[in-house]
Symmetry: C2
Subunit: 321 residues, 2 copies
């Protein structure tokens, strides 16, 4: 099958071996896949990953020996394949299973290929009203929903999202739905315009916010500058949700965190079903985030474009429905 | 009056001016005061404080013009003097009032003196069953209670306190009362012995704890090593409470905080009434933490001893009841 493969950089392979599903897993024909910033980091060496990247996909189940009901279904897929039996899994935290593999990120080939494998329980059937373009946003939108899964956002809260990247725009739309007083701090007026269309306040000027004035800051830049802004504007006993990973270690003034009794919460993968509901109900606009499309045969060019500064979502198409 | 004064180092003054209470504040004759690590830091230049340090005190109200009922009462005192009218105070967070002064720490003379001033609303009358020795622990014990004010500690939680300093020993006793499965990681067998007498598990060996195995870690060392241990042993979606301030900035791997969805919570001053109840009921042992006593005339020697490594509480006596 065709595949993009990371092994000291990224290459395109025409004849990568098509996988055979082990017991408990389905073979999925991939329709299309979005390029995530994590994919770009993997190409640079993050996680020392080798194999096929890609985890924001939509596909059709082609083989599922013990679950024939799944065959032919159009699905999104949760990316963490957990062991199901360890204490972490038994405590209902499968996304943190220490034995987990992760689709296209950690010891499991991903979605920039004609086919992929995932356990049956990772698959979520998509209603017809969710298009393929919407479907590739289920995974990142679930990650945005994770914020509401972790903390209680009150309708009266003053909330700021720092960062107008793809994840920032999704987090902003999910948070706006709570009725909170939301402002998004970004750098790109064209991206912020997508939110402004939905009545969400935006600014490019960090000084808009008084020090110690914000109840909740969602840090989605993944930069030291974004974190510093979050620290400056969060109020005493306020919360900073860390939604992006950071390059290497960061220098943090933890004494100020203690004195102001600030809460920092790391936030990663989230629940798929709410994300699918939000897309089915057209409550979240995602199509406007797609900026370019490529076939997998042009996959290297797609990654090159995705890596250009300020780029929104680049989609790679593998197969048609 | 007699006072210890910080002004480029610490000195003893025989004739420091006795303060006159402004409207709304009481004049308190100080009986005795404990030396806190924060006091030692202030002497070294922390907060650029000048004036009289000391905030862990017991005293008797000598003058209270609009509250004659307070006169003669033996009291402990909350250390943050808030403005009472700003948005932070109106939101019931007076300990975070941006205009606040702090007894013996920030623009307000403290308790290593014959007299001090505090607003009426900061004072808490002490029941007779709480001795003067117990009373100087009300403030740090309230800070330990703040943990339970901020987060829900479940009886089934696996909890570790890192650090066997004075605050660590108080946090441990407060946490043990929840019924949680508590272990204290310290360095001094004599200090850990105080906890062992109460049936609290202790260890001096960080490797006792498997990685990612602990629900809640209370970091009370204030050292990079303590924080690193906390990060190593906290489970995914677990919580680290930061109970100590840190020297300057610290380097933290925030990506691991994101991937493991860990919560970091800064924790500072806490509620006095629960602390007084716990002391009145003899649920917390504090007398064993007192290791030396000095009169205020020997105050400089007291500070010198308090600064020696591994020292427990040093008490300075100002006046008798």
């Amino acid at each position: 099958m065709r595949a993009l493969v990371i092994d000291n950089g990224l290459r395109f392979e025409k004849d990568y071996p098509t996988p055979t599903p082990p017991r408990g897993e389905a073979l999925i024909r991939v329709l299309q896949t979005g390029i995530c910033n994590t994919d770009l980091e993997l190409v640079k060496g993050y996680m020392s990953f080798t194999g096929v990247p890609g985890h924001e996909f939509v596909g059709v189940v082609e083989r599922a020996d013990d679950r024939p009901d799944l065959i032919g279904q159009r699905v999104a897929g949760e990316i963490n394949a957990a062991c199901g039996v360890c204490p972490t899994c038994c405590a209902n935290r499968p996304t943190h299973c220490p034995q987990r593999t992760t689709l296209g990120i950690d010891r499991r080939d991903g979605a920039f290929a004609d086919y992929l494998l995932l356990p049956y329980e990772n698959l979520h059937a998509l209603p017809d009203v969710v298009s393929n373009d919407q479907a590739i946003f289920v995974e990142p939108l679930a990650a945005a929903c994770e914020i509401l899964q972790q903390i209680h956002v009150r309708p009266t809260d003053r909330v700021v999202v720092t960062g107008d990247g793809k994840l920032g725009l999704l987090c902003a739309q999910v948070l706006a739905a709570t009725g909170c007083y939301l402002t998004v701090l970004g750098r790109h007026t064209d991206k912020l315009q997508i939110l402004a269309r939905h009545g969400i306040e935006t600014t490019t000027e960090p000084q808009t916010f008084a020090p110690a004035s914000i109840d909740l800051v969602v840090e989605a830049t993944g930069t030291p500058g974004g974190f510093e802004t979050a620290r400056r504007i969060v109020r005493p006993r306020g919360t900073i949700v860390l939604k992006s990973t950071y390059h290497g270690d960061m220098t943090v003034n933890l004494t100020m965190v203690v004195v102001d009794e600030v809460t920092l919460i790391g936030s990663r993968c989230g629940p798929f079903e709410p994300a699918i509901r939000l897309l089915a109900n057209k409550q979240i606009e995602v199509e406007a985030l797609i900026q370019a499309r490529y076939s997998i045969d042009e996959g290297l060019a797609a990654f090159e474009q995705a890596a250009t500064k300020g780029m929104m979502k680049v989609v790679i198409t593998m197969n048609s429905d």
